[in-house]
Symmetry: C2
């Protein structure tokens, strides 16, 4: 059998640490390096960093250029950024080193929407270096785009897509809750939407563009709405107790129009402890057409877990893929990695 697949992880936050822990459970993978922007983490053993009781003999570095040069990874999982602008420089270095990239940057799930020039540059560079770049994650990348696309495959005709993901923000910490506008007076939430501090979900235009591209639809407009979810009960959160009348989260809606008609409607109400107001979490997909298809998952697929799993599970698909910048809709379907990754590769050697 070929040598183990050398995987480097860029990023040691919640997602990066989760990816490292999952990689350590998989066979045929050798974590060859870990990069952290946070200089104070440099030199720390990766096993200890992610909370294991053992060292794994790989230390965190704050210098990814040297990591790439000395360890020559086959693939890098990037969990350092959300935008293509932030992800670009690392991606460029990784590709030039001859490694493939799996990025969980939200914009990388469909970079042709917001960063078409960067996407084209990286696509050319990846082709030149014979490597593949993939953007993935639970959302964008799976629930509100890939899964919808898959389900349209059984339709003669699709007229309209309506999908919602109702989830619970209570596992999340300060930074996520702040960008979701949690624990604000409704008027401060509205102000936050206007000044950009309340962001809501990141990735609707990417999801809608991925769906449209897969079906061959040309969207003429994408709109987004962020509305406060005002609590009528007390809810506990990582940024304090939410009193009735304050926000528990953000109801974010994305609408895609074609020829002036709504053809994609994605609805993502995110809040802490929805169960306190008897709101069940879940993923709901409706494809209106011939036939109309309705699928739902209850409770919702957990977001952090799903993103970590996809980043790791896509390794053999990316290693087997044609060179270039790809989306989840361009590659074979994801699947859980339940054997030595080398056994799942079609390209041998």
């Amino acid at each position: 059998m070929r040598e183990k697949i050398k995987v480097a992880v860029f990023g040691t936050g919640h997602m990066g640490s989760g990816i490292i822990k999952l990689l350590l459970q998989k066979q045929g993978i050798d974590i060859c390096g870990v990069y952290s922007k946070r200089k104070e983490r440099a030199g720390q053993d990766v096993g200890e960093l992610v909370g294991l009781e053992r060292k794994i003999g790989v230390t965190v570095t704050a210098d990814y250029v040297s990591l790439l040069r000395t360890t020559k990874p086959d693939i890098v999982i990037q969990s350092t950024s959300s935008t293509m602008k932030d992800a670009y420089t690392e991606m460029e270095s990784i590709v030039k080193s001859g490694a493939n990239v799996i990025s969980i940057a939200e914009e990388a799930a469909y970079p042709w929407y917001g960063s078409a020039d960067l996407a084209r540059q990286l696509d050319r560079l990846a082709a030149e270096h014979k490597v593949t770049i993939l953007g993935t994650g639970i959302n964008p990348g799976f629930v509100l785009d890939l899964l919808i696309i898959v389900l349209t495959g059984v339709c003669y005709r699709v007229d309209k897509i309506v999908a919602s993901r109702i989830n619970d923000l209570s596992p999340y910490g300060h930074s996520v809750l702040t960008t979701q506008g949690v624990n604000l007076k409704p008027e401060d939430f509205e102000k936050g939407v206007r000044d950009g501090s309340v962001v809501g979900h990141f990735g609707f235009p990417e999801s809608m563009s991925m769906i449209a591209a897969a079906l061959g639809w040309k969207l003429d407009k994408i709109e987004q709405f962020r509305e406060p979810i005002v609590s009528s009960v007390r809810r506990e959160s990582a940024i304090g107790t939410i009193q009735p009348g304050y926000t528990a989260g953000c109801r974010h809606t994305g609408i895609g129009y074609m020829n002036g008609k709504k053809v994609i409607e994605l609805i993502h109400p995110q809040q802490v402890h929805p169960e306190l107001e008897k709101i069940g979490t879940g993923d709901y997909i409706e494809i209106h057409g011939d036939p109309t298809i309705k699928f739902s998952g209850v409770p919702e697929i957990p977001g952090g877990v799903g993103t970590i799993a996809l980043a790791v599970n896509m390794i053999p698909k990316v290693l087997d893929a044609e060179p270039g910048f790809k989306s989840m809709a361009d590659l074979p379907v994801p699947s859980a990695l339940m054997a030595d990754v080398r056994e799942l590769l079609k390209k041998k050697g």
Copy 2:
């Protein structure tokens, strides 16, 4: 833009006719020929054959060798058979003519299970002629395999898969109802299972093998059970009125074992008019692991429609694919074809 994609259809039964009608609604496709085994159909205009009020200027032929030679299709959709043994000779001719194949033969969805030698031969032949062969269909090919595989993509670990498809056989005619053992005394149903006249669902070993291959599981045993669904009420069917005490259908179960443990359980109770005993139809998928994922579609994705849609929707994916014999898990995800098929091709020209 390149010329229209030339598609030939082999088979003019319920599925073949449905495929032709759907192809006629799609842009960028030219139906270049239609083959029927039934000699009495030769010479008939295809438009009239499928019940349109107009001729389309293509006549049915009973000679597919000459069809391939004179019309040079880019792709042939094969709906003439269920087994690889029956599908093989046509597939070989199609591939040698330089055309791609989309087959709805159930065994072609994963031919490496039951016909590994034929699959390997065709894979080599397809590689030699630089064309792709794909087996697809609602089941095997989508609900109880591809959709399950996709959903495992968000899992750290999968322990066991349990999925069921509860559907209504009442749209089907004599031949389907007979192979499902409808309208029999329970003891005659059991006799039919023993003598092979009651078949139930066709494709469980294929679905289970496709799932196992995607995850890297090695199944050591596949079992199948066919039990009568005995009606307690009167139900009308295409093979007569079913009296209480007679069978309304077949509850077919497939179980895949790994290391002696059940790891895949597929359950497919098919019967006419399940609503008469308050049984709702639907597709239900449970992936037990970390995390456990539960998805369901209610009512079930219609079987005939789904198979026809997949056969047509997969055209651009097959034209873009690498040469060889592929399963649905090897190709990019299916998606509804809502634009000129040529716009959806990545390979141009």
